[in-house]
Symmetry: C2
Subunit: 495 residues, 2 copies
Amino acid sequence: MIPYKTIIQFDRNSKQALYLQLANQFIILIKDKKLLPSTKLPGSRTLASLLEVHRKTVVACYDELLAQGWVESISKKGTFVHADLPELYQKEKQVLDDEFKSNSAGFQFYTDKKLERKSPKLQEGFMSLNDGVSDVRLTPIIDLARIYRRISGRKLIYKEMSYGSLFGNEKLRKTLSEYLNKTRGLNTTISNILITRGSQMGIHLSAKLLLQKEDVIIVGETNYTSADTSFLQQEAKLLRVPVDENGLVISKIETICKEQQIKAVYVTSHHHHPTTVTLSAERRIHLLNLSKTYNFAIIEDDYDYDFNYQYSPILPLASHDTNGNVIYIGSVCKTVAPVFRVGYLIASKEFVNEAANQRRFIDRQGDALLELTFEEFIKNGDLDRHIKKVMKIYKQRRDLFCKLLIDNFSDVFQFEIPKGGMAVWVKLNKKYSWKKVTEIAKINKLNIGDWQRYDNAKIGHNSIRIGFAAYDEKEIYELMNRLFKTMKEIRNDNF
Amino acid sequence: MIPYKTIIQFDRNSKQALYLQLANQFIILIKDKKLLPSTKLPGSRTLASLLEVHRKTVVACYDELLAQGWVESISKKGTFVHADLPELYQKEKQVLDDEFKSNSAGFQFYTDKKLERKSPKLQEGFMSLNDGVSDVRLTPIIDLARIYRRISGRKLIYKEMSYGSLFGNEKLRKTLSEYLNKTRGLNTTISNILITRGSQMGIHLSAKLLLQKEDVIIVGETNYTSADTSFLQQEAKLLRVPVDENGLVISKIETICKEQQIKAVYVTSHHHHPTTVTLSAERRIHLLNLSKTYNFAIIEDDYDYDFNYQYSPILPLASHDTNGNVIYIGSVCKTVAPVFRVGYLIASKEFVNEAANQRRFIDRQGDALLELTFEEFIKNGDLDRHIKKVMKIYKQRRDLFCKLLIDNFSDVFQFEIPKGGMAVWVKLNKKYSWKKVTEIAKINKLNIGDWQRYDNAKIGHNSIRIGFAAYDEKEIYELMNRLFKTMKEIRNDNF
């Protein structure tokens, strides 16, 4: 008999029942060939007294091993390691000891380099430039959690808790449809709306439905990198058109359309990502007309519709779309907080249906409790109040941010004051390079991040996007201070 | 001058500001060519008095139109419709009136028939068979919402509210890793865990990483339909092996491996979906050994690990995997409630990293607040208490359900009492057809659903899966009563 008493150890603090701990150790002994097939196991009384456990524990363990098929019970003879277990490789144990091996997959899988992103951990005491995110400290999180809690306490809430609609909660779709019709001039009904997990899922689903290998999609020469990647994932062909102070140059799209069939145009019409400019009215109409003539889709990603500091926001392309050419994508992630993954895709009923079919096989459905929370938040006017509140704050931050940029960096940075959004498009004097700035900034505890991602087309514009909305006044001063120290060194270095 | 007073209407109850309502109506007039390019607009005083609004409203409206580029202001002359607006098609208005057209996309997109599912709306007073879902009325929703509310009130919670980890909340990954190591004998660290939106996302990501066109994956002759579809979406080749009372017939997999390279085997080892049988210990070892020899992945979908009514659950294949061959997928959706889309994919670090890269372009990230809620729920022991509670109830329901099946339907239905899970695999006497049963059931207000989906391979087993866990005692009696009436008619019909 093997020395059970020494080999078998119990962890009395473990959550796992003793008999299960015992069974698992037997399994390891069997797999490691410490216990060979047909070996007789000790009687339950013997083992119990050896291990100082209750006999019932051993009986339960043997029952478990029996149920799992590791052992067999031979009438009047006792319990034996199953005679018919297949060959177990001795190598196993060695492999376990080899950390590299045990962390690695024992099979081949496909990897995709273009999906990789640099995202270094932010070191203690560092500040980081972002690309235009909201200040989540302003999110009315307590109000939202209170609504969530209240909704969860409703008597009939269990009806929303099982497998539900692929399209998202019906109440939210209705409220959202009314809200967007009123505030953005859309002309939707509930059947035009799919609730997504934020804009990214809208882009992903649109890409899947529109693009297959070699299909052509037009994007800006500068463009939102994640959109580029989503289209490339479908093996689509990206054609780039220039972006000027009025947005995408639509006449170039017309030239392309005359030469070849395109499937779609991706546009961030309200504030072009990354350059922040607005697509002009003339170009809007031109683009809509082209889409009708040449039967392509316009993916309108209206990621920061809510933030416009001059006049009220310009209505989306989707509000003038009479032919079903626009797929309109938005979310509350940017407006409220990224943690709330609630967005929408708005398009013709047929397109929305197909997108929902695809969605079933991605994540099945959304989170009805969170969706109902936002339904109330929108319907109560809380969302509008929140927007009004943060708009005022972001406008002040933009003004301070831009003033400091002008006052301190007019020789090195060139930019237009953005009319909306949460970021400034900053062009560095061509005498200098972002590579160098990034290096020096690190010494001043300022993390600039991956500046190269703003120039996927490699046109050498020497610009990056810098968000201002997430910093309060004090932080903006501190950020500018670090940037100032950095640029001082850069200037000295260069002359 | 066109009759502005009659044409322009205000909705005083609308949320939309008056000046915006006015601006949007001007845009329509311009697009409809009621106002042609270069037309002079009335002065703000004139229009204000005509429409009985404040002059400021008209000024704001004109500013808006100016900002959007629809009009131009000519010094000392006034405001004019922009001279350079491109040709607007007269057709537009007609198209709007055509409901079919206005609901349809103005472009081509790809559709995929295999993604379609029948899901008819349940009529009033009907009961519906399901395929093994939990009873969400037993979910401790108030406790969960309370945790959610408490977490949301934490002082530093804003740190979790912006863009976060692609892998899911780190605290949950740590707690889950410890929990699964202790209760399921896994050997994971945090770097092996990706938090998903339920099992479906785990299957989706695995399929994406493992399968491309013509790659071979092995599944059961009967199999979970959504998994089949996910693999087919990747254009993989599905090879099917038989499933008997001990689960997948692994020797058939060996035969296939000797002939060709396979990429993966999909297995629901704990309770085969749909037939509910458990993969035997011998076959488990055999499958693990084959995966090592032939370098393929095992996708182990442990969708209902928590529910086993005999002994404690059998440990997953993943707990015996020493070579990194198993991708282990699970979720809390089945255990707690489908509305909570929290699941996990467990695999080698490299596989998990690549899955996270893919995930960025699907939905960016999970819901950190919900993930933290479940972190507490698991850590506090609430999850285990919940499982213990519902296990007892589900066992009673299984026993009643099966007893009534035996007592009333022994001539028409054949089944094994399932050792775990939430469903019974019921074979109909070959004299009868589910098509007919489904028809007659409808008359008795019983919806049987899509019975065909259980036989994707068309082997004609004449069986379907019937869930018992979601019904309480009274409902089980009522269900059986309707089924009894149905089968009575079927029997009478047949003799």
